[in-house]
């Protein structure tokens, strides 16, 4: 066998004074890093196989294991960085595309971290959300041009006809992750948590598993280029329908679920033969223009008796503002914009790290453009692509979003350690895998509880931040960019974001 130039990424350090050779690590690692040596009654570790998921470290009862970044470094070179060299070694061997999972880990500017939120002092009172009512209920829908109210028998009644809408108790939804890319237990956790908290989860493009049908009222069903699992019942058994055009991590790229992962259950859910590759084409072959998109939106509205909102999910790309304008004019009730730091189960690394634009800039550009054109009210905006905390949510809403989609954050709540090896199907946390030995590691009861706690915690923090700024309803914050200030940003960035620099008063 020829020399392999791949270096291991991690070092598994085992404190032999603490190791009791209980073999928990051996049983938990799907990458076969740990091995029990029956002769010496010790556990040996092969660091080169470690992906850094930290499962063994978390489960070790004595804390004997530490996973560390391997210290070996190439000769310092600002141009030829270690990542380039390692990738070339890998590709010289495999001749293939370098795959990766989750969102980009490259040090691109995270604009959320360069935006600061306001607080009330002296001239307007702040509000204590623990003592006073604080409204964060959010509606996802198109809104009428104006409201007509009539008086009937001495009572005022709304005369304007409202379209279908989604009612969220917090401005956070779970973003699209298909059954296939994640395990059924992960899907169940998301669905149950959304239903318990009063928000929504998204089926992704993989169809709806029969066990999840009972969460239909809290389900956004996706219609993607592969049309997996789409039929009349799928569309009607939902709260909203979403047309997926693109995904932030891989704009312009389709999907490919290998045949070996298409088990009996997945084949039934996706409505494709067992063992066949599930290929999502890069484009929708019936959408080559805004007019075509309008036709599909109309068709889906027709199919659901005009009872459900129909949204369109696009990745944040350079022309996002005019594209969004077209989508609104095509009749979408909401647009979901997925920024380039958004996650994925598998994407070519070159695409994930280099294609698309940050969602903060895309959101600001879209909101500004839609306002300029006077059509902002016709559709809601949901932003996705690495919303990491409640403060990101607050900043997104102040920049103009109606709500946010979270997916990576939700998976982290379920145990994900961002090892970025989703595409291998060996997820030790039972999330991005279909291996029955691994999927049972995610107990949906625990998953639901943890996701519910995350939503609760973020909602409390959102209320605290609103209260601090003297705002008692999230509707008053929406698009209110005066509450934001930039820091360490240049004039061009500030003008795109439409915010002032820190230190500039009203």
């Amino acid at each position: 066998m020829a020399l392999e130039l791949n270096q291991s990424e991690f070092t598994v350090e085992r404190d032999l004074d603490k190791c009791i050779a209980c073999e928990v690590c051996v049983r938990q690692c799907s990458n076969d890093v740990h091995e029990f040596d029956a002769d010496d009654k010790t556990v040996l570790s092969e660091s080169s196989k470690c992906v850094g998921c930290h499962r063994c470290e978390e489960l070790c009862p004595t804390g004997a294991i530490t996973i560390k970044k391997k210290a070996a470094e190439f000769k310092e070179n600002s141009n030829w960085q270690a990542a380039h060299i390692k990738n070339i070694y890998k590709q010289a061997e495999s001749g293939g595309v370098i795959l990766t999972g989750m969102g980009s880990d490259k040090p691109h500017t995270v604009y959320w971290d360069h935006i600061l939120f306001n607080a009330a002092q002296v001239t307007n009172p702040s509000i204590d959300p623990l003592r006073e009512p604080m409204e964060i209920k959010t509606f996802i829908c198109g809104k009428p041009e104006n409201l007509k109210i009539e008086k009937q028998n001495g009572q005022f009644k709304l005369k304007s006809k409202m379209g279908p809408y989604l009612e969220l108790l917090t401005p956070i939804l779970f973003s699209a992750m298909s059954y296939g890319s994640i395990s059924l237990n992960a899907c169940k956790s998301l669905a149950a948590a959304a239903a318990e908290y009063g928000t929504f989860y998204n089926t992704g493009e993989g169809g709806m598993h029969k066990d999840l049908a009972r969460y239909a009222k809290n389900t956004i069903v996706q219609v993607a280029s592969g049309r997996f699992g789409v039929d009349r019942d799928y569309l009607r058994n939902s709260a909203a329908v979403e047309i997926k055009i693109g995904q932030g991590a891989k704009p312009g790229i389709g999907g490919h679920l290998p045949g070996e992962k298409v088990t009996e259950d997945i084949s039934g859910t996706r409505m494709i033969p067992q063992g066949s590759d599930a290929i999502s084409p890069a484009p929708h072959h019936d959408i080559y223009s805004i007019e075509d998109l309008a036709q599909l939106i109309d068709a889906l509205k027709e199919a659901t008796d005009y009872e459900k909102p129909v949204g369109v999910k696009v990745s944040a790309v350079h022309n996002i503002a005019p594209i969004a304008s077209g989508i609104v004019r095509a009749g979408a009730d909401y647009i979901a914009i997925d920024g380039f730091r958004g996650g994925t189960g598998a994407a070519p690394q070159s695409i994930r790290d280099n294609v698309g634009i940050p969602v903060e800039l895309a959101l600001a550009a879209v909101d500004t453009r839609l306002r300029q054109e006077g059509i902002r009210h016709r559709a809601a905006i949901i932003v996705a692509g690495s919303i990491r905390s409640s403060s990101d949510v607050v900043k997104a809403i102040a920049l103009g979003a109606d709500a946010v989609y979270i997916a990576t954050a939700a998976l982290i709540a379920l145990g994900c350690h961002l090892c970025q090896k989703c595409y291998t199907g060996k997820c030790n946390w039972g999330i991005a895998t279909q291996d029955p030995y691994l999927t049972k590691r995610l107990n949906p009861e625990i998953g639901t509880r943890r996701l519910h706690s995350l939503l609760r915690a973020w909602s409390l923090e959102i209320k605290e931040m609103l209260g601090g700024a003297g705002i008692n309803a999230i509707e008053s914050l929406r698009g209110n960019r005066e509450h934001l200030r930039g820091i360490n940003l240049n004039d061009r960035e500030l003008s795109i974001l439409g915010i002032k620099h820190a230190g500039e008063a009203w």
Partner: protein, 151 residues
């Protein structure tokens, strides 16, 4: 009485229940010391059975009409009327292993250190929650109040 149940759908076969059971029934009750002092001396009262992807942990069911109690020749194995827990009195046990032979679940083991007493789950009566349940990372083991048929 309280009984331990396992949801085999979520048993991940990590065997942490066995490890914590061993620690609980060791002299020192400290994990590092217990294992260093002599692993063979401490037996786990909970056993993880595993075939392929399927696994589950099982311990004494504390049967209402416990065959081990009937089979015990020395009167060491008794069922506590109040708590419902089946316990083995180490002093009285003569090591005939009749209990092991009649146990329909195979959850009684020979205690090698003493050479006679049988080792079985005591439901951690001195703990609020049995240690196997407390330390199950996937909550596959649960302790639930089981309606007492006699009442």
């Amino acid at each position: 009485m309280k009984r331990i149940f396992i949801d085999e759908k979520y048993c991940i076969g990590c065997r942490l229940c066995e490890i914590y059971c061993q620690v609980k029934h060791s002299k020192s009750k400290k994990i590092l010391k217990a294992f260093r002092e002599g692993q063979p001396d401490i037996l786990s009262r909970v056993l993880v059975e595993e075939i392929g992807h399927d696994s589950f942990a099982i311990q004494c069911r504390h049967c209402d009409d416990a065959p081990c109690v009937s089979a015990c020749i020395s009167g060491a194995m008794t069922k506590n009327e109040k708590t419902g827990v089946v316990v083995c009195d180490q002093e009285k046990c003569v090591g005939c292993w009749s209990c092991i032979m009649v146990c329909p679940y195979g959850v009684i083991k020979r205690d090698i250190s003493s050479g006679k007493a049988a080792s079985k789950c005591d439901l951690c009566v001195d703990e609020e929650v049995p240690v196997c349940v407390k330390n199950c990372p996937n909550e596959a083991l649960k302790i639930v109040q089981f309606p007492d048929e006699e009442k």
